[in-house]
């Protein structure tokens, strides 16, 4: 047989194996990336319930920031994203069966520690042009262009923002008091 024919057959077999493999992986990734999937673990459910009542879901833009938008590296960092997601998936299953009780406060701190400003800045990109909020402009400058040794995270000042247990849903458009960052969390 000619070499080209062998090559074509091998490529064909490759496609037959790889296509379902890739599409199943993709399907799994999509299925396991929804807040509903995250809430299927009882440990995470309160966080998802609180998130649903927050302004990250309820705002006049109709924009919704999902769990993964904040808690995992951006999907365009494909390798980091897949690695982090798989790692956390395996870890969460193991922890589910091995730990006594889920400490929400401890995990909140761990989440603050793991946040990278780049995750917030996937959406919050224009942080310096807010003529009505000069104080915020001043503070944001110290984050975007930090003096050496004074690097800060967005969540150092913007915390207790999403996962607060509320009796009512918080709509950004009906916020009566102007939003303010809360100041440095660790003071």
């Amino acid at each position: 047989m000619k070499k080209t024919v062998i090559a074509a057959i091998l490529v064909g077999i490759g496609i037959i194996i790889a296509f379902p493999l890739f599409s199943m992986t993709y399907y799994t990734m999509v299925r396991t990336s929804t807040p509903e999937f995250c809430a299927s673990c009882h440990e995470i459910k309160p966080a998802v319930v609180a998130w649903r009542s927050s302004t990250h879901v309820n705002n006049p833009q109709g924009f919704v920031a999902d769990c993964m938008d904040c808690h995992l590296p951006a999907p365009h960092k494909t390798f980091d994203f897949f690695f982090a997601k798989t790692f956390h998936g395996i870890k969460d299953v193991i922890k589910h069966f091995t730990i006594e009780e889920y400490d929400r406060q401890k995990n909140r701190e761990a989440a603050y520690a793991s946040f990278d400003n780049a995750q917030c800045r996937k959406c919050h990109r224009n942080l310096l042009t807010m003529p009505g909020k000069r104080g915020a402009m001043l503070a944001h400058k110290t984050v975007l262009y930090p003096r050496p040794g004074y690097e800060k995270k967005c969540v150092d000042c913007h915390y207790d923002l999403v996962h607060n247990d509320r009796a009512t849903i918080m709509y950004k458009q009906y916020r009566r008091l102007p939003y303010q960052a809360k100041g440095l969390r660790k003071l």
Binding site: G135, L177, P178, L187
Partner: protein
Amino acid sequence: MRRRRLFILSAAAIALLIAAGVPTNAAAQPNYAKVKEYRIERSVPPEAVACIECHRAANPGIFDDWARSRHASANITCLDCHLAQPGDQDVAKGHDKHYANTDLPYSDEKYKVPIATVVTPKDCSRCHPDEVTQYSKSKHANTIEIIWKLDPWLNKGMNSDNERKTGCYHCHGTVLKIDDAGDLAPDTWPNVGVGRLNLDGSKGSCTSCHSRHRFAVSEARRPEACDSCHLGPDHPQIEIYEESKHGTIYNAFGDEFNFKAAAGTWTPGTDYRAPTCAACHMSGSGKVMGTHDVTERLSWETQAPLTVRPADFKPFPAGNDWQVEREKMKNVCRACHGNSWIDDFYQGFDKAVEEYNEVYFKPAKAMLDNLYGKDLLDKTKFFDEHLELQFYELWHHEGRRARMGAMMMAPDYAWWHGFYECKSRFNEFMEEADHLIATGKKAYVYPKYPNATGDTTRPPKIFGK
């Protein structure tokens, strides 16, 4: 006759018109200060308009101060600092009732917002995070913890709570509390002490140095910003500064200094001819970056009983290396002085510290411990025996004056108010101590010690229960 009547009538009418047309200012606005004009022409939330309109009438002084501030220039209003979240424990309870007074134009329910009276460094950190981070590491912000770890007045209850409120806590700060009625407890408030412990857990008060509601950098750059606390027999820094050549030049040429330079641009030689307290201890100069941590740039703790390096100051160890910090201070000096001047000056300062430690403090401390060991002095209280007072004044008053006078170049404080007094105190202390040892007689304990009633519990918010 008719003419005369007409004349009288018209004269009366004119007099009436004059009286009606020229009311005196005092009658129109009794006791009101002239209120500065402020037209709200920029985007300000309606709730903040209500704050401004009400308070410019109720407290024209506060309003006027703010209206002249950089905050007003940047459109930072009352709300940006005083807005609380519903349910915060420091929401001013009494403030709500003003919204029920329907006579006032801004009393409508729609303007109602929760307001916190106390503005804390945490609030300031929303816009000034780096400054607050530096300040939070300083001895300034942590001074309540420091005094409770050191001070016998507090720990032995040797003064009264009100002596503390009007004296100690005025500078060091109170531990703010809410009383049973939900208001700020009057024994802890008002207070702008530099180490105040706030209800949100943050420490200190930015208004100690940047007074309300102007918050001017130009104020904090002047030595007068420091002089309400750093004065007197136990740490006369302002008197020392006044005596030093730096202070002389400030007094002679201060009116030519540019105190209003933008943050980070205040430059020795250009904006000022001689340093103020802030210039050496805080402001940026040459390669040295500005800081709100006043503990930086120190190479000795001249306030401590035994002079130690800041990192070895047990009640609040500075997380730094004194050699790095001294180099920073030398860099500040170099703006106006050559190396030999600086190095030789520091040699004299180091020698003064060494002599104080070795010749005055250590022998006196050894003698004090010896007397306690021999049970000739009673350890239960402090300040109730003459020798304890003598020892205290040796380090806390005269020893500090000697060391600080040497450091900040005030010869009268280094010698006459300093080492001269140390010498005579040391001799009197030793004479009395030797006499007790020779006779084996216990020291006289003041039986009628007045007003030693203060609470001796360390604040649980700092030290835990």
